[in-house]
Amino acid sequence: MLTLKSVQAGYGRLPVLKGISLHVRPGEVVTLIGGNGAGKTTTLSTISGLLPARKGAIEFAGRDLTRMAPERIVTLGLALVPEGRRVFHTLSVTANLELGAYHRRDKAEVRRDLEEIRERFPILKERAHQAAGTLSGGEQQILVIGRALMARPRLLMLDEPSMGLAPRMVTQVYDILAELKAQGTTILLVEQNARAALKVADRGYVLETGRIILDGSAADLREDPEVQRAYLGKGYREVWE
């Protein structure tokens, strides 16, 4: 469904992605894990068209995304939930959700999806007319996921949905992702919280300083000693004590 072939990208003269290859098949949940500055967000920005790819090819559903403008890419069915809960803070919760369906022309269907998403996340119905900026962090994360679903994406990309959330909210967000997975949504999940991500994912890639150093099934990655040491914190306690 989504294929990246040796993609290179960066900011100014600074290279960040030094040749990334990965793919996501329909119905799969794939996670991209790695530390700060590994290039996780840059990968998503490049797929979304916010950052041009310098080399390599990005293909989605048979279309070449490499030179496509971000607003065109959205119409192909790629939705991004950006890092750091980017709600439109002065707009109401409902207006935020409606903007998720900005590119859709099927107004009646959009209405129905809006109702469905409010049923699914009652908090968004309760706070329908409140400015999105007044919501708590967890509520905002739910809102941005709901907003992305309003696009009826064929592929949902999430950038660190657990960042800065209370542990209870992290669980709630990941419950939502598990639910979406059960419904067959295709997801590309970027996370620093490898433990949570590998629990929900089918497969994963490990990104380090702009290169993919490891890939495999989520189960294999969970058992990999290197991943355990670097990202799951295994052995940390023993060494400390």
């Binding site: 979304s48 916010l50 403008a69 971000p70 607003e71 959205v74 119409t75 939705a79 991004l80 950006p82 980017r86 709600v87 439109f88 803070h89 002065t90 707009l91 207006a95 409606e98 903007l99 998720g100 900005y102 590119h103 907003r147 696009a151």
Partner: protein, 290 residues
């Protein structure tokens, strides 16, 4: 006294249109413009010139003003709206100064002497020579502009604009073509300022570059900020207050600028979002953010 009140009401109406147009750029699209009076002036000169030289009737002259100012807005907006806030502030400021200099130095604009003898509007057999006739004309146009902008900001496109203001990159990820929106709203705002310019020229019947300089740009900006960014009602209020206030302050002759300045500073401290506004004054272009 009545005549004086009518005069102020007409000016307030013209400033309402100007303030709303600038508020579309600043309050709704979240962009900065420090040279808005240039479009006001372009509209005024365009309208005056086609009336004086080609004897255009007022509706055609006003339309010329709208088109001319809109075209200039488009020409300025296309290359510059990709700039970030601080650079956009400088470019629009520069544009205002350049346009002012052009008015001052061209022969066709009458240089510093300006253009006298602009005919008052006359159509359908009615000449709007009496101030209260003119007030009705201005009031009708203000109501039309108000209705149109209310509709616009509440629409699908209005929501997209506010999304750009709140967070441009996220708006793009929603599929909103933010460069196109910014250019479109900048052009529309310039065209509206052109309409205000036309109304001004045919009311005062004499224009010179003095009315369209930097201080006018700043005055319009102050009206937007005072009334509240992103609030149409606020723009009306801001325009009315800052048209009347300087007149009231004539009483404290010599201190009026002081009182006027203190009021604005006090407002910015106590209520930075303006009287009716929602968003705070976007002085982000003065304090670099990451």
């Amino acid at each position: 006294m009545v005549a004086y009140a009518l005069h102020l009401a007409i000016l307030a109406g013209i400033y309402i249109i100007l303030t709303i147009s600038l508020n579309l750029i600043i309050g709704y699209a979240g962009q900065v413009s420090l040279g808005h009076a240039a479009f006001f002036g372009i509209g005024a000169y365009a309208s005056a010139l086609v009336s004086l030289h080609w004897h255009f009737p007022f509706p055609a002259a006003a339309l010329s003003a709208v088109l001319m100012a809109g075209l200039c807005g488009l020409a300025l907006g296309l290359p510059t709206l990709r700039l970030k806030e601080d650079y956009l502030a400088i470019v629009t400021l520069g544009f205002g100064v350049i346009v002012d200099l052009v008015f001052l130095n061209l022969d066709i604009t009458g240089g510093p002497d300006g253009l006298p003898g602009i005919p008052p509007p006359s159509f359908w057999g009615v000449t709007f020579r009496q101030p209260w006739h003119y007030l009705i004309l201005v009031a009708i146009l203000v109501i039309l502009v108000l209705a149109a902008t209310y509709r616009l900001v509440d629409s699908y496109h209005g929501r997209a604009l506010r999304a750009i203001r709140d967070h441009e990159i996220t708006a793009q990820v929603m599929g909103i073509n933010s460069p196109a929106y910014k250019v479109a709203i900048f052009t529309l705002a310039a065209a509206l300022a052109g309409l205000a310019g036309s109304l001004y020229a045919h009311y005062i019947t004499f224009i010179n570059p003095e009315s369209f300089g930097l201080h006018t740009s700043i005055l319009i900006l102050a009206m937007v900020v005072l009334g509240g960014m992103g609030s149409i009602g606020g723009s009306v209020l801001g325009a009315v207050i800052l048209t009347i206030l300087p007149e009231l302050l004539r009483e404290v002759h010599g201190y009026q600028d002081l009182v006027y300045g203190a009021l604005l500073v006090g407002l910015l401290i106590l209520r930075p979002e303006g009287i009716l506004g929602r968003g705070k004054l976007s002085l982000k272009f003065l304090q670099r953010e990451g």
